[in-house]
């Protein structure tokens, strides 16, 4: 399948949504996005980690070292309260934009 380019903001939204379901490490986040999108979306590490660090700087997620499934030390990310609010805001605006685009495509 040809590579679909995701906008930076969209990736942020997906990461926040995934973390809403529970704390996760970087690899896990990429896996879940891949699975939840029926293997359509593949997040490259070169986009994932910068996005994670950016979200951490903005204070929407926080990180903590923990043990992964195969007993490997990994960094786990989780949503903060501000992150939860941001998720709601971004999801709302995404829905509005998507609806608007759909209308234009249907009507024009």
């Amino acid at each position: 399948m040809a590579k679909i380019e995701l906008l930076q903001g969209t990736l942020d939204l997906l990461i926040l949504k995934v973390l809403h379901g529970g704390a996760q490490h970087g690899f896990g986040i990429a896996q879940r996005i891949h699975l939840l999108s029926q293997e359509v979306l593949t997040v490259e590490e070169g986009s994932l980690y910068p996005a994670l660090y950016r979200l951490e700087e903005k204070g929407w997620i926080e990180s903590e070292w923990g043990q992964s499934d195969n007993n490997r030390r990994a960094k786990f990310y989780s949503l903060t309260k501000a992150g939860r609010k941001q998720l709601a805001t971004e999801q709302q605006s995404w829905d509005r934009i998507a609806a608007a685009i759909a209308q234009v495509l249907a009507g024009a």
Binding site: H25, G26, F27, G28, Q31, E44, E45, G46, Y49, P50, Y53, R54, E57, G59, S68, N70, R72, R73, A74, K75
Partner: protein, 892 residues
């Protein structure tokens, strides 16, 4: 979210962050490999697949790093480290650039220090913005008040925290106990007791005045060094001032020179000492004596205007001697209390001139940077290939040039500090010499915070500006070609831009040289200008620097004056003596008059002289008659005018018999006096050597405290006899008087006023020319070095050496021509501006009437410029012709 803290924390925890990131990515890698194994790949393949999918680990790390806050600070430190290393590796290049920038920046710092000191420098006291000077006539801020008025103001002024009073400086006799009983003049200022406390100036040794003290004295730092050799035992010592014993209780700090610049006193005494110090006059109780200059410290919540308004209200009950009410004014006190459009014009010109020098030097630095970046092409190409962004490279190159700028700024500060020290010393010795040791102005040019900030700003700005274009061009490297080590034309700079820079240098140098030429011409004309009177044989005698200390009342003063007058006439070698209230070129007074045709004329220069004035000065009366003795004794309402005044007041008519009316009312309210014109004198220069005044008026008056003396031979020989004669009348008189020869005194100052700007301009012009010449030399040499192969081919094909040289020189011809054109245009503009400035009566005409288009001067400047430039271009061009074709063709 403590973001600022986060940024700083990141800086310190960088290692931990790097380790964390590495571990996190490694963990991800392993999990991916595990997933691949679970999907069926074998161990090795799984790992490789994971690595491949990951992409460039370091690239990811780099992008991730950039997401962290505060990373710009890290990158800046990194850039600075690289830059320092790069500069250290090229010490020759660094030295040349830093020296060039230091010269330009240093000159700018000196010019700004002057401007800041003379115009804006605050008094070296606590909270100087709160100190205001009060004037009694709204104009002059040395105009004095009486003691009663001072007390009144102190009691009633609400918007001020305190009022202090100071007397004008005097020159008094001292018998210093330290100097072995020898008498020497000293400058003493009487001040109110709260002077030092209100100003917030602590004593650096000992203490300041105690309440109620009247025999204490505070020494100035300069006097402490000069007269007492910095002896720490000076506290408690007694000196005799004017026969009054005073005890030295303290020494003022070195930066404090009093509040009446530019002079600084040697001693401060409390007001209460006045009656014993000067027994003939009463400054403390006589309501008609105005001897005190006032300063107020306003309360912080009031503006100066508000304080000024309140002072005017309080002053409504005060009266001038002629019965008029006072019109007070206030102004925030600065160190020199200079200002106004003329002063600003001078400084703007100076700052522009030194700015031009920085420009010329800066262009040299730009060329050097271009050349250097051409050499670093390979390094830059590799960095670009490895993934560095152009922006990052640009930032790093600019950091290098800004670092050079900072180093240049540091060097410039050193240069400025040295130059300012030299200027301070020079002007101190010069002024002491001219005024016979009695007057040394207090010029403190040490850089303060504002000057440092200015230098820093210029250094960073210059560094950035010179580095920007070369950096921009350096980062546009053709990576492929550079990696293959092919020399690229682009990075070494397009010749078009080089030429434009060259033209700018030539124009700036020509402008400065032409300006120097104008001023030099003016100075030489000044030296040969005939003032109109017999200057080589004239002396000015000023008895009693402060007339009020001479005799207590007018009758006594008149008697004294007659005595001095008679005695002067009997001194051997004296041909003629005349009383005069003003010495030419040493200050003048102006008034407004109305002609009998009802024309109002402002700016009339007025002088009060006795009947021998014109014969003493050697001025011819072209019509009418001189004053009679009776007219002089009674100050009759007659006036003698000059030819120029006649032309101005009654153009085309005979002025004799006509009258001038003074619009000022008398003390009882009666209308002003009318003066009849009885004579017309030839024109001469009285206020400034460079101009003949529009209207000069001479009124008859018996001599009071000033005389002009004409001698048979050289006036210097007569000076000692005059001092001896004054001493015979009264020993005190001799130490309080001053005798100057016209040429060594006031005229010398006038000449200096013309020479100093000329010398400065010549220095600046010379520096600019030298820098431009060095620049041209460099540019042409570089061009020759680049085209060595081409020259070798041409010579091998049969070209003459002459042709090759001509080829090189032709390249520089066009930019030089453009530069000359613009430079000449600018020079003409400056010349026109100078002549326009002269229309203001207070400004000396620096060109001394040379006019706006002095062709010879401009041609001379152009000639000097072209000669130097031709030499600078010809020397490296010669090398082009010496290329050995065989060697050149082999070199690749």
């Amino acid at each position: 979210m403590a973001f600022p803290f986060q940024r700083l924390r990141h800086l310190f925890r960088r290692k931990r962050f790097e380790a964390d990131m590495a571990e996190e990515l490694q963990a991800h890698l392993e999990m991916q490999a595990a997933a691949n194994r679970a999907a069926g790949m074998d161990a090795d393949e799984a790992r490789y697949a994971a690595r491949r999918q990951f992409g460039g680990l370091d690239q990811i790390k780099e992008i991730a790093r950039a997401q962290r806050a505060g990373v710009w600070l890290e990158q800046l430190l990194q850039d600075v480290r690289y830059a320092t290393r790069a500069l250290r590796k090229n010490p020759g290049f660094t030295a040349v650039v830093v020296l060039t920038l230091a010269l330009g920046i240093g000159l700018n710092t000196v010019a700004f220090s002057f401007y800041h000191t003379l115009v804006g420098k605050p008094l070296p006291v606590r909270s100087p913005g709160e100190i205001l000077r009060v004037s009694a006539d709204g104009r002059r801020f040395q105009s004095p008040f009486s003691h009663d008025e001072y007390v009144d103001l102190q009691a009633r002024l609400q918007s001020a925290a305190a009022v202090i009073a100071t007397s004008p400086l005097q020159v008094l006799l001292t018998t210093s106990a330290a100097a072995g009983g020898r008498a020497a003049p000293a400058a003493v200022q009487l001040v109110s007791e709260n002077y030092f406390t209100v100003l917030g100036v602590p004593a650096v040794l000992g203490r300041t005045f105690d309440a109620g003290a009247d025999e204490e004295a505070v020494l100035s730092f300069d006097a402490w060094q000069r007269r007492f050799n910095g002896d720490r035992n000076v506290i408690g010592r007694t000196v005799r001032l004017q026969d009054l014993p005073v005890t030295i209780v303290g020494v003022a700090p070195p930066s404090f020179g009093g509040t009446t610049p530019p002079s600084a006193p040697d001693f401060w005494l409390p007001m209460a000492a006045q009656p014993r110090l000067l027994p003939n006059v009463d400054w403390l109780h006589d309501p008609a004596t105005r001897a005190w200059q006032l300063l107020v410290r306003r309360r912080a919540e009031f503006t100066p205007d508000q304080v000024g308004a309140e002072i005017q209200v309080v002053a409504r009950t005060w009266r001038q001697p002629d019965g008029q009410p006072l019109r007070t004014g206030v102004q925030t006190a600065t160190f020199f209390q200079l200002g106004g459009p003329e002063v600003n014009a001078v400084f703007v010109t100076l700052l522009l001139a030194v700015g031009l020098i920085l420009l010329v030097g800066g262009i040299n630095v730009v060329n050097l940077l271009f050349a250097r970046n051409a050499v670093r092409e390979h390094e830059l190409a590799i960095r670009l290939a490895l993934g560095a962004s152009r922006g990052r490279l640009l930032r790093q190159l600019c950091t290098e040039s800004m670092l050079l700028g900072l180093l240049g700024g540091a060097g410039g500060l050193l240069l400025a500090w040295w130059a300012c020290g030299g200027i301070e010393t020079w002007q101190t010795t010069f002024m002491r010499e001219i005024t016979r040791g009695t007057w040394s102005p207090f010029l403190d040019l040490t850089p303060d915070a504002l000057v440092f900030a200015y230098t820093l700003a210029i250094a960073l700005g210059a560094g950035l500006l010179v580095g920007l274009r070369p950096a921009w061009h350096g980062t546009r490297v053709n990576v492929e070609a550079a990696l293959k080590q092919k020399s690229s034309e682009a990075a070494s700079g397009i010749s078009g831009r080089r030429n434009y820079l060259l033209a700018v240098q030539v124009a700036a140098s020509l402008l400065l040289l032409a300006g120097a030429g104008l001023l030099l011409r003016g100075a030489s004309r000044a030296l040969t200008t005939d003032p109109g009177f017999d200057a080589p044989h004239l002396l000015a005698v000023v008895a009693w620097s402060n007339l009020q200390t001479a005799a207590p009342n007018a009758a006594d003063q008149a008697r004294r004056a007659r005595e001095i007058d008679a005695r002067l006439r009997s001194v051997p070698g004296v041909v003629s003596v005349s009383g005069a209230d003003r010495v030419p070129f040493s200050g003048h007074s102006i008034s407004t008059f109305v002609t009998d045709e009802n024309r109002w004329v402002n700016g009339c220069v007025t002088m009060h002289v006795d009947r021998d004035y014109f014969s003493t000065l050697g001025l011819r009366l072209v019509s009418g008659r001189p004053f009679t003795a009776a007219e002089t004794a009674q100050a009759a309402p007659v006036v003698i005018i000059t030819q120029s005044a006649a032309r101005h007041l009654w153009p085309g008519k005979d002025p004799l018999g006509r009258s001038l009316h003074s619009p000022q009312r008398g003390p009882a309210g009666e209308p002003g006096t009318s003066y009849t014109v009885i004579g017309v004198a030839q024109d001469a220069r009285f206020t400034l050597l460079s101009r003949v005044d529009d209207v000069d008026l001479f009124f008859p008056q018996a001599a009071t405290a000033g005389w002009m003396v004409r001698t048979r031979g050289a006036p210097e020989a007569v000076v000692p006899s005059i001092y001896a004669a004054l001493k015979e009348i009264d020993p005190l008189l001799e130490s309080q008087s001053a005798v100057w020869t016209m040429e060594a005194g006031p005229m010398r100052v006038q000449w200096l006023m013309a020479e100093a700007p000329a010398n400065i301009a010549s220095l600046l012009g010379g520096i600019a020319l030298a820098l431009a010449a060095v620049g041209i030399f460099g540019v042409v040499s570089y061009g020759v070095a680049r085209r060595t192969r081409e020259f070798g081919i041409r010579l091998a094909l049969g070209a003459q050496k002459r042709d090759v040289i001509a080829l090189v020189l032709r390249q520089t011809l066009r930019p030089v021509a453009w530069g000359v054109a613009f430079g000449l245009a600018g020079a003409v503009a400056v010349s026109v501006l100078l002549t326009r400035l002269v229309l203001n009566a207070e400004m000396p005409d620096l060109t001394y009437g040379a006019g706006a288009f002095p062709v010879a001067t401009f041609a001379g400047a152009l000639g000097v410029l072209l000669a130097v430039i031709a030499l600078a271009a010809w020397l490296p061009a010669r090398r082009a012709a010496k290329v050995d074709p065989v060697v050149a063709l082999r070199a690749e």
